[in-house]
């Protein structure tokens, strides 16, 4: 290239460069605005979440330290605490083995195909049904048709329907983490499928299974709409028995009733109602946090024990 040509190209090159620099400066401004907005939104939402949880924790915390809160008196929620754990255990006892069995079938026995897809589709659909609708179904199927009336049994069976999809998916995930080689190793030693599952797969999937139990427990504790009509809003006098045929309310349904439809008609003063509702709300948040911490921590701890041993 001649000297003149070189000079011309470099002049053209430098104006092009200047143009590019201007352009990039504009782009960077847009970038700063955009990412700045995102950071703003992110921080705002995070603060919103934290703020709500902290507020709910604090506003009723005073009541958690009152012994009357745990009694059977006017502001006592001992029956509700008892009922919550009762229904939790009853529902888990009914639903977890069934969900685990179904998960075992899907992962260990079934071939990927129409059947598995159908089950997953059904699970997704069932999971998408609003819990109030499941509650109404429970009234029809269990309270009326099965003659269980408004009872803990009806409530537990309704919770089975509610819990099934979530438990199934969590158990499937837990079983799926077991590597194929382990299963093949078991079978190669001459064990039958079921024996191999019992002795190899399930112990290996234990962390995931425990996590599943804890997470479903969390969901059950927080559930109210499905229990509203199947388990009721009142407690009979023999509430502390183990009978599944009596009606009872839980922390959540009780909170709903006192704060909403029953406000002013329970024969309690406003202060007492506030104590119940505020305290119950805080207690529920505390339970929720414990469950979340437990789900993470226990799962990891068991994993460490199982893999280290």
């Amino acid at each position: 290239m001649s000297m003149q040509q070189t000079a011309q190209t470099s002049l053209a090159g430098s104006t092009r460069l200047a143009e590019q620099q201007r352009l990039v400066r504009r782009l960077k401004l847009g970038n700063a605005v955009g990412t700045g907005t995102l950071c703003g939104i992110g921080i705002l939402v995070a603060l919103l979440f934290v703020g709500i949880i902290v507020y709910l924790l604090l506003q009723g915390s005073a009541y958690l330290f009152l012994p009357e809160f745990y009694s059977t008196g006017p502001i006592g929620i001992r029956p509700e605490i008892y009922n919550t754990f009762y229904i939790l255990i009853l529902a888990e006892i009914i639903s977890l083995p069934i969900a685990l069995a179904a998960a075992i079938y899907l992962i260990e026995y079934a071939r990927q195909g129409v059947f598995v897809t159908t089950i997953h589709f059904a699970a997704e659909t069932l999971a998408g049904v609003p819990s109030i609708v499941l509650g109404l179904f429970g009234v029809l199927a269990f309270s009326i048709y099965a003659h269980l009336g408004t009872s803990r049994a009806a409530g537990a069976l309704t919770l089975l329907c509610l819990n099934f999809p979530l438990a199934l998916r969590l158990f499937e995930d837990a079983l799926a983490t077991v590597p194929r080689e382990m299963r093949e190793g078991g079978l190669a030693l001459g064990a039958t499928r079921w024996h191999m599952i019992r002795t190899v797969v399930i112990p290996s999937a234990l962390p995931g299974i425990v996590t599943a139990v804890i997470l479903t427990a969390g969901k059950i504790i927080g559930e109210a709409a499905a229990l509203l009509f199947t388990m009721g809003l009142n407690n009979p006098s023999d509430v502390f028995t183990l009978s599944p045929f009596i009606a009872s309310d839980t922390l959540t349904t009780h909170l709903y009733y006192v704060a909403g439809p029953g406000a002013g008609s329970t024969g309690l003063t406003t202060a007492q109602e506030t104590a119940i509702t505020a305290g119950s709300a805080t207690l529920l948040i505390v339970l929720l946090l414990i469950i979340n911490v437990a789900a993470r921590g226990l799962g990891r701890a068991i994993q460490r024990r199982v893999t280290a041993a």
Partner: protein
């Protein structure tokens, strides 16, 4: 064979039995779902043979299945107001939640340092599990008094200005935000790093990479997030019921004040009125339940369709 039996102690019949039991449990899931549709579906149409007609049911606005408040004492099966309420609060809550959720999800996946991600993740998970009553209670003690103070004087409803669709929208916002955020985060994470690298290597800014490369690659996943948020919103009961507090659809619909007075929607009315209603009135509630059932089913079908069209899983 003999040795094997001694060593493991298993028997073939037990194996076969186990397999059948497990299969039964899997089929039980389908049975439950079919049962739900059957039980509610067969009861859902009875109301139309007891005096309700379809057009009034969907478009009339006076809902009184027990006939307690009608002049003639006859039940009035007009769910138009309830349906409108559900549609309005679902629409607006999703409308407000979606940009916030997308922004949060982008912040989480593209801009947050690792320590912040480790903090935010459990926060989102905890919030997803918030019981509906607790959020409704929060609405009662914080949102409603706030709205009363802010909007009451403007609307002139006094004591009841905090209740209604406005409060319900805010409460729903809190409930569906974590859902949309989580699913959006999954959708964004499914976009492989190579797409981001390609964009940056061509001289784009981070913001351009996000808006021109990542989001377009994640559209079906993001759409699924919105659909599932909508599904959750329309079925939400207790939180909404605590803040709506209405008996009927208000008369004046087309003013902004309609958001700030006691109001109604489908789930709220079921929660409040179902236990009080007996006999013929109950049939109307099966119909409402069936409507919700069908809507939720359609949402699930939509989300599965979207998932099947995604580019990256």
């Amino acid at each position: 064979m003999q040795v094997g039996q001694q060593v493991t102690g298993r028997t073939y019949p037990a194996d076969r039995l186990a397999r059948i039991v497990f299969l039964m449990c899997a089929i039980l899931l389908i049975a439950v779902l079919v049962g739900v549709f059957l039980f509610i579906g067969t009861n859902a149409f009875r109301v139309f043979s007891e005096g309700a007609n379809v057009k009034d049911f969907f478009f009339g606005t006076y809902w009184d299945p027990s006939g307690n408040t009608t002049v003639s004492g006859n039940p009035s099966f007009q769910a138009g107001g309830l349906i409108l309420g559900s549609i309005v609060i679902t629409f607006f809550s999703v409308l407000i939640a979606t940009p916030l959720a997308f922004g949060m999800a982008l912040f989480f996946t593209e801009l947050s340092p690792r320590w912040l991600v480790r903090l935010l993740q459990p926060l989102i998970e905890v919030f997803t599990g918030m019981p509906s009553v607790v959020v409704g209670f929060f609405g009662l003690i914080i949102i409603i008094p706030l709205l009363q103070r802010l909007v009451g004087p403007l609307v002139g409803n006094g004591q009841t200005a905090g209740y209604g669709w406005g409060a319900a929208i805010l409460v729903l916002l809190i409930m569906i935000l974590p859902t949309i955020i989580s699913i959006s985060i999954d959708a964004l994470r499914a976009v492989p790093g190579s797409v981001r690298e390609a964009s940056l290597a061509l001289g784009s800014t981070r913001w351009q990479m996000m808006t021109r490369a990542v989001i377009p690659a994640a559209t079906t996943g993001l759409a699924t997030a919105v659909v599932l948020g909508m599904a959750r919103a329309i079925g939400e009961t207790l939180a909404v019921s605590l803040v709506l507090d209405g008996q009927q659809l208000p008369k004046k619909l087309f003013t902004p004040a309609v958001f700030f007075q006691p109001n109604v929607n489908i789930t709220q009315y079921i929660a409040i009125d179902f236990p009080e209603t007996l006999g013929v009135g109950r049939d109307a509630y099966w119909t409402l339940a069936f409507i919700l059932l069908v809507i939720s089913f359609l949402f699930v079908c939509l989300s599965r369709y979207l998932a099947s069209r995604s580019v990256y899983r």
